[in-house]
Assembly symmetry: C2
Homo-oligomer: 380 residues x 2
Amino acid sequence: MPDTNFAKGLAGVIATESKICTIDGDEGLLSYRGYSIQDLAANSNFAESAYLLLFGNLPSESELADFSAKLEARREIRPEIIDGLRLLPADTHPMVALQQAVAAHGSFDAAPGGEIGPAIERSIDLIARFPTMVAARARLAAGQEPIAPRQDLGHGQNFLYMLSGEVPDTERGDIFDDCLILHMEHSLNASTFTARVVSATLAPVDASVSAAVGALYGRLHGGANERVLHMLTEIESAATAEAWLDDQLAVKRKIMGMGHRVYRAKDPRAHVLEAYLKHLADKAGGSEDYDKLKVIERKMSAIMEAKGKQIYPNVDYFSGSLYRVLDIDVSLFTPIFAIARVVGWCAHILEQWEDNRIYRPRAAYTGEHNRTWAPVSERG
Amino acid sequence: MPDTNFAKGLAGVIATESKICTIDGDEGLLSYRGYSIQDLAANSNFAESAYLLLFGNLPSESELADFSAKLEARREIRPEIIDGLRLLPADTHPMVALQQAVAAHGSFDAAPGGEIGPAIERSIDLIARFPTMVAARARLAAGQEPIAPRQDLGHGQNFLYMLSGEVPDTERGDIFDDCLILHMEHSLNASTFTARVVSATLAPVDASVSAAVGALYGRLHGGANERVLHMLTEIESAATAEAWLDDQLAVKRKIMGMGHRVYRAKDPRAHVLEAYLKHLADKAGGSEDYDKLKVIERKMSAIMEAKGKQIYPNVDYFSGSLYRVLDIDVSLFTPIFAIARVVGWCAHILEQWEDNRIYRPRAAYTGEHNRTWAPVSERG
């Protein structure tokens, strides 16, 4: 009799070796290529962190200049891609539009799957163009014409510019870049695993990344920070937040943005995001969101401590409110996640192809056996 | 120290339970919902087999009539989907076009992921429309206008009609339908596994199926029957096939369409396809392809037997030549695979949602630790 023990959702199963990212959930540590995420958020910029993830090492001065120049020069997307986005109804979810645009992108100058050199260039194309695709679609959905990218702005600064037509100050652009760095990579989450499974068939980079966008669209994966904001709108003020929380816990409702399948300590990304939110909130003379979040965090922590347990905010807890302070619409939160995570997807595709094998797990069959077909007239 | 044993490509790892399909590689048996594939190919039709895979049981007379009517009535695709296909360059691979079209399809009347009822209707939409999408794109790529589907033709017959504008006789349509039945489902191959991984995030049916199309595009997954045909063009005639084979084996080149990761006996689908190829070839006064294939099969078998081993044709060995007899261009072989396999993908998505958990395997980290960021000017 075949062994039919299995871990649902492949929980705990090792699917591959990887040199890209390590997570120590107990210690609350996340590092890319051996560098802690706090170190990178404090010191690195978008291009450098993306280079690090793709190539495995920090770039030299000339490597960084070359890579940054490529990212800036390749921001523009073809008119056919914009026309494709134009065909979609106004209420199309931005992630559907992005999945479609990335698949269509694979029509133009695509490289075959499995070849590392062309795949690196293709990865740079996609990393450079994701913000342009997302911003173009956001403008079209709002009945506005897309704004062409500018090469003279930072990665995040240019994205914010393409959304509104106004160039944000450098500080806001840099903070947004740091948000992207924090979201670039997180090991084998469902979308990154999807990118590896698809690319392992030797499907091209675009086809694999388009599939990953589809996975990130799922509400169990992307979208959690959106739900934190919905939660905040339910809370009248910081003064009533405790009472709101009591009501929620009484009906056993899940509190969004708290806890994580992997982290048993405060998610290291939450620390950085909280600091940025506080900084921008203070500059703006306070933030109701921030005050509510801190009340909920403290109360939740106290309740769990009384039970001998711990709970901490995860990466989604502060990010939505921070994006709101940056004037980004809530509908773009998951696409922003994709603008960051495309770096990790590409790094994993490149690593997959260095030593490839197609993913072909088994299913434990629990269905019927030995049934015999009968004509429809003889069926019950 | 964490356990870092793992099976590359998840080989032998059980990823889920499933009631859909069972394969006995040693015996050469494949069954859908407990019915052998030979039984279904001999007795069932496209709609009935699709119903069986989606719902788990053969339909009653009224269920079958209802389901068939839906499949026929929903063949048409929206003009926006056709216009999206129009935007792609002529040399776009048909699978890239299909991945894009399915993602775009998710813009229109999409149901949220995770809800079984709407997902069944959405599955029927996609099964009905895949042939229309593939045929429309094939016509556009050839500089021709798409041909609208007809409701009064069989599933395969209508597809062949939309390609050429000529209605094929019922026999050819029925044989093509049987080819589709044979390819509808094959457990957790890479594209079906992709469909499950993506849908487990609760991404909608369209997003999950679009991702699966991307996986099938990979040349390690789809496309093998295409390579069998390329092989056949290298062989001058059946008379020289043995000499050709000797040359290939002398340089250790892989013979396409032979052997399978799962089957240790002749793939049951190969039997059925061979019989159809022989039947249509005989009707047409013989087929050079068929003669070459039989010479190679016999010689390969004899060579392996002398070594105490066995090798058999797989599903891809005869299908390409059969599609050629049906006047289908080689570039459409993988899209045809998708037209069939979309049934299996949808059945797996529905099953996934009956008892869902997101797929989140681990990676064994083999990279650097505890590196410290330094300014670019201080790097080597």
